[in-house]
């Protein structure tokens, strides 16, 4: 059966991104990637994806807009409150013994999760010792995350999550509210480093006590998931913690052997042994 035009166009677009800019989406989960590439038609007002190719190839300023659309940052603060409660009760007490606590939040999108982490550590009196690396491939989202400005209504809606996550006081206490917006307090940002990092192609850049990467791996194919999980393993110090999205799994390529399960529902794991020979 000959390929459908739609599929040919998606393929060409992904190839062009890779050849022209080195952004390799070829190992992403194809079905969701296809939806997002086809979604570009509506965003940029054209009938066919192939009509975007000339602009992609010849206008570098177009790239960040494309990446921004393809990495669709949808999140909320304290999403899955039970996960943050598990971090609060099972992980933070163990991190308390370290003079400095390094954290990597991979795929930070608009920052909802990284500010949740900052608030969590602040509430537990550990923020002063933290350095949180918040990374993403989406520079548009990174800029927005660094600004830390959210819709007031959204933050009010997240307050319930925060409460269920064992939050102390009100979530709104950490924000300055004005004109319908909620801006994260500067004290929350003090120990956060926002940086560009591509899980597909970049390597280890730090040694950390905790990695939070939720609902990013679902966008990757199995092989790429394996690469990224190995990258996480190699970035964690012994005894470090890894937290994945609630429907994500560590269970292949033997990577699970390096970890023990702390909380299966929260997808919370602890690195017990460093990489074995040959892996």
């Amino acid at each position: 059966m000959p390929a459908k035009n739609e599929d040919i166009e998606v393929h060409l677009f992904i190839e062009a991104l890779k050849l022209r800019y080195g952004y390799d989406f070829s190992q992403y989960a194809r079905a969701s990637l296809k939806r997002r590439v086809l979604g570009l038609r509506q965003v940029f007002g054209c009938e066919y994806v192939s009509q975007l190719l000339p602009r992609l190839l010849h206008d570098p300023a177009f790239l960040p807009q494309v990446i921004s659309q393809l990495s669709v940052p949808v999140s909320e603060m304290f999403r899955d409150p039970a996960v943050f409660l598990a971090l609060r009760r099972q992980v933070l007490p163990l991190l308390r013994s370290y003079p400095t606590i390094n954290i990597w939040q991979a795929g930070c999108a608009h920052g909802e999760e990284v500010y949740s982490l900052a608030i969590l550590f602040q509430e537990e009196g550990l923020y002063e010792r933290c350095r949180i690396y918040a990374t993403d491939i989406n520079d548009v989202a990174l800029t927005k995350a660094e600004e830390g400005v959210f819709a007031e209504a959204d933050v009010r809606a997240y307050a319930k999550n925060h409460h269920h996550a064992g939050g102390v006081g009100s979530l709104l206490d950490h924000f300055h509210i004005a004109y319908g917006f909620a801006k994260a307090d500067d004290r929350l940002k003090r120990n956060i480093v926002f940086a560009h990092h591509n899980l597909v192609s970049d390597g280890v850049f730090c040694e950390v006590n905790l990695i939070l990467c939720r609902n990013v791996l679902i966008y990757f194919g199995r092989d790429l998931q394996g690469r990224v999980l190995r990258l996480f393993r190699d970035s964690l110090m012994r005894g470090g913690f890894l937290c994945l999205g609630s429907k994500e799994s560590l269970g292949f390529d033997g990577i699970l052997d390096n970890f023990r399960v702390i909380d299966q529902n929260a997808k919370l794991f602890q690195l017990t042994s460093l990489a074995g020979a040959g892996s």
């Binding site: 194809r30 079905a31 939806r35 199995r222 429907k247 799994s249």
Partner: protein, 195 residues
């Protein structure tokens, strides 16, 4: 030659969905040879429960989908709450937290359209009770690819909007009450007649 005309059954429902799902899935035998994949618009908290409830009632095994799990014949796979459910070319599931489609996540359209990419017309699509128009585009895609489309008779649906919308946009090979849908799901697994 493949023994069956269809490779998978896709079911979408919303308001009133639990009762409808029970009615059509309960009668399926434990050795039903096709995978059944269900998207229901239920909030993130209620979805794991949906798989559990159905599993108690059905002869077939019911599981909530985890990322990258394979599509398995004889299993009823239920979309987890808060995630879109898609099928990859290698017949595994993938999940996404992309923006809501038709104001819902999981969206029936997302599942049905991705299933067509993998299975072509070798699909049975079922749209049941619901209060929005999700599923109409997806059923259209299934029928245009040559798949078999079933819509719950709106007169028998707890919420008629969804089956009505699906029929208006996609048409249907059958418009049926729930008990008859259960029968048709069992009859479509009869081996293809040899020409």
């Amino acid at each position: 030659m493949k023994p069956f005309r269809y490779d998978a059954v896709m079911v979408g429902c919303s308001l009133g969905g639990l009762r409808a799902l029970r009615a059509i899935l309960q009668p399926l035998p434990a050795d039903y040879p096709l995978p059944v994949i269900v998207v229901s618009h239920i909030g993130p908290d209620g979805q794991g429960l949906l798989a559990e409830l159905l599993d108690e009632d059905c002869a077939m095994s019911v599981v909530e989908v985890e990322d990258k799990a394979p599509v398995v014949p004889g299993i009823i796979h239920v979309a987890p709450g808060g995630y879109h459910l898609l099928i990859e070319g290698d017949r595994t599931f993938s999940l996404s937290v992309d923006a809501k489609v038709r104001n819902v996540r999981p969206a029936i359209d997302v599942l049905f359209e991705s299933a067509v990419d993998t299975y072509g017309g070798r699909l049975v699509g079922v749209v049941l009770t619901g209060a929005n128009d999700d599923g109409a585009q997806g059923l259209k895609a299934i029928r245009e690819a040559g798949g078999f489309g079933i819509v719950q008779d709106p007169a028998t649906a707890e919420a008629a909007t969804m089956p009505k919308a699906a029929f208006a946009l996609a048409g249907a090979d059958r418009v049926l009450a729930l008990e008859d849908i259960a029968l048709v799901l069992q009859s479509v697994i009869h081996p293809e007649p040899t020409p």
